[in-house]
């Protein structure tokens, strides 16, 4: 791998121990992946700030002890703690202390305390064609697909190493040749009514991820889904698969035409998707089958974090009624500050909605201890809830989720 003079300097320790450690990690990773060089990045989004145990906190503190500072604008993904609503978790005091130390370490390195998995809806929107280093699988999918900025699926720790050096290995989705689709998803068989409903997008995403793994697909005939619908699709696809980029022909920035999406080549594979094919993907998003009237323990929405428009949609669906079981609404402090000004936060809180900011219910022990049944409209929550919380999960649309929270029982 060819290193620039500055890369060599950074590696040598001339720019301090944090920079040389970070450069060592980048060089080893780049060599492993067969990259020929490192390239500059314009910004970073760090997923490594989430507490999974003491090791990650100790690493972050080691970087701080080396006086690490980020070189590019850097936002932070969720941490383990809701810093705005301290009552919200069941961590033991020692773990909470380590989680807080970890969050503090990343802020000490100069990262912005955004604490959201939807940084793209909290003011961090890289431009078309920019190289960036983003972590968090849904954020990566959105950044590549919807914004047209270029990032690989950076794992925890490589993200901060990239931010500290401003460099990443030149491979994968940084290369234009890797960004064109190989698989055409023909969605013209799907009804307009299905595609109009928000529930279509986490289902399509879950199906896509399971079908594709890490290949790049382009949708034809999907119409013009909203930003929040594309967000839901990408998050689900990046949960069930390793999808880092997808195109929607006629909508997303690198797919004005089918020819552009495929780089002028023919698709290697064409899949005609119909609603029957999606029904098993939908079924796989629930771990149990519930019938109308069956008890549920809680409802959770907001993975990725709710945007302000999604909180307004929640408010409209609740329509002033009180929830009988907790409805957890996970969002960013950025979106929360917007709806707070509109009076939505106080109103929804008074109706039994529990706002969770800076974190969420699958990364932090927030749901009541034990087991139960969680209902969600998020493909990502549906995918990770059984393993991460011990709860069973039932996937449904926003309307059904809200009606169930208000009734206290399943309203499918």
């Amino acid at each position: 791998m060819l290193l620039s003079g500055l890369d060599e300097e950074m590696l040598s320790g001339l720019h301090g121990d944090a920079v040389s450690l970070s450069m060592r990690i980048l060089v080893q990773t780049g060599r492993m992946l067969g990259a020929h060089a490192l390239i500059d990045i314009r910004s970073a989004h760090i997923d490594g700030c989430l507490y999974h145990g003491d090791s990650g906190a100790l690493f972050a503190e080691k970087l701080v002890s080396f006086n690490a500072k980020v070189r590019v604008p850097t936002t932070l993904n969720v941490g383990a703690l809701d810093l705005l609503h301290a009552r919200n978790d069941r961590f033991d005091p020692a773990a909470r202390d380590m989680a807080r130390r970890m969050m503090s370490a990343y802020v000490a390195m100069g990262c912005q305390p955004t604490w959201t998995c939807a940084p793209y809806q909290a003011g961090h929107r890289p431009r078309l064609g920019e190289d960036v280093a983003w972590g968090e699988s849904n954020a990566v999918a959105f950044c590549n697909s919807v914004l047209g900025a270029r990032t690989n699926r950076y794992g925890d720790f490589l993200d901060i190493c990239a931010a500290i050096t401003g460099r990443v290995p030149q491979y994968g989705l940084h290369l234009i040749s890797q960004r064109t689709a190989t698989v055409l998803i023909d969605a013209t068989q799907l009804s307009r009514a299905f595609l109009k409903d928000d529930i279509a997008y986490p289902i399509l995403g879950a199906w896509l991820g399971a079908e594709l793994g890490a290949r790049v697909a382009a949708f034809k005939g999907l119409g013009s889904p909203s930003e929040d619908q594309l967000k839901a699709l990408g998050a689900a696809a990046a949960s069930t698969g390793a999808v880092g980029l997808f195109h929607v022909i006629g909508l997303t920035p690198e797919a004005a035409t089918e020819s552009q999406a495929f780089g002028g080549k023919h698709p290697a594979e064409i899949i005609i998707v119909d609603e029957a094919m999606l029904s098993s993907a939908r079924a796989a998003l629930s771990s149990i089958v519930l019938h109308p009237g069956d008890a549920i323990s809680a409802v959770a929405i907001g993975s990725p974090h709710l945007s302000a428009p999604e909180i307004r949609a929640l408010d409209a669906a609740v329509a002033g009624r009180r929830c009988q079981v907790p409805l957890y609404a996970c969002t960013s402090r950025h979106s929360l500050s917007i709806v707070k000004r509109e009076g939505l936060e106080d109103r929804l809180k008074s109706l039994g909605i529990i706002f969770v900011a800076d974190t969420c219910i699958v990364v932090s022990p927030i749901l009541p201890a034990g087991s139960g049944v969680l209902m969600t409209n998020s493909g990502k929550f549906a995918h990770y809830t059984p393993a991460n919380t011990g709860y069973d999960v039932v996937f449904a649309g926003l309307r059904e989720c809200v009606e169930s929270a208000i009734a206290g029982t399943c309203q499918l």
Partner: protein, 147 residues
């Protein structure tokens, strides 16, 4: 008939400190995300949908056909290393930067960590599930296979 067999693995990240490791082979056939798939608290496979739910990856030669999902796999592996609950070696079917990072960071922290190796999914099948496998510093894996 059982016979002594060996296969050459590509070394993605060497075992640290450099040594021969020995462990029982554990095949993960279904795609796995380490985050959400392995508990960093106890090293047990944590997805109730997995056929190996509840089994431990600690000290195993973990043979992974396909990685999926979260970019936090590196954090989970680092935590397993820190708690001494990591596999003794991980054999992937294709190079993966995310998982390898857990080991690279462990090396920077001075914590003994498993090597990461690459072997095609077809060749992975030559290693029987449950076989005792030793992997030397050059990435040669020795095991009893059906010959």
């Amino acid at each position: 008939m059982s016979a002594a067999m060996n296969v050459n693995l590509a070394v993605l990240v060497p075992t640290a400190p450099s040594r021969t490791v020995v462990g029982r082979a554990m095949h993960l056939i279904e795609p796995i995300s380490f985050w959400g798939g392995v508990s960093p608290a106890d090293g047990l496979l944590s997805d109730p949908r997995s056929v190996r739910f509840g089994q431990s990856v600690a000290d195993r030669v973990l043979i992974v056909r396909e990685l999926r999902g979260s970019s936090s796999a590196s954090s989970v592996l680092l935590e397993l290393v820190y708690k001494r609950l990591a596999p003794c070696a991980i054999i992937l079917s294709a190079a993966d930067a995310i998982l390898a990072l857990g080991v690279l960071i462990a090396n920077e922290m001075g914590w003994p960590a498993p090597g990461i190796f690459e072997l095609s999914s077809l060749q992975q099948e030559t290693i029987p599930d449950g076989a005792i496998v030793s992997i030397d510093t050059h990435g040669v894996a020795f095991f009893e296979g059906s010959g």
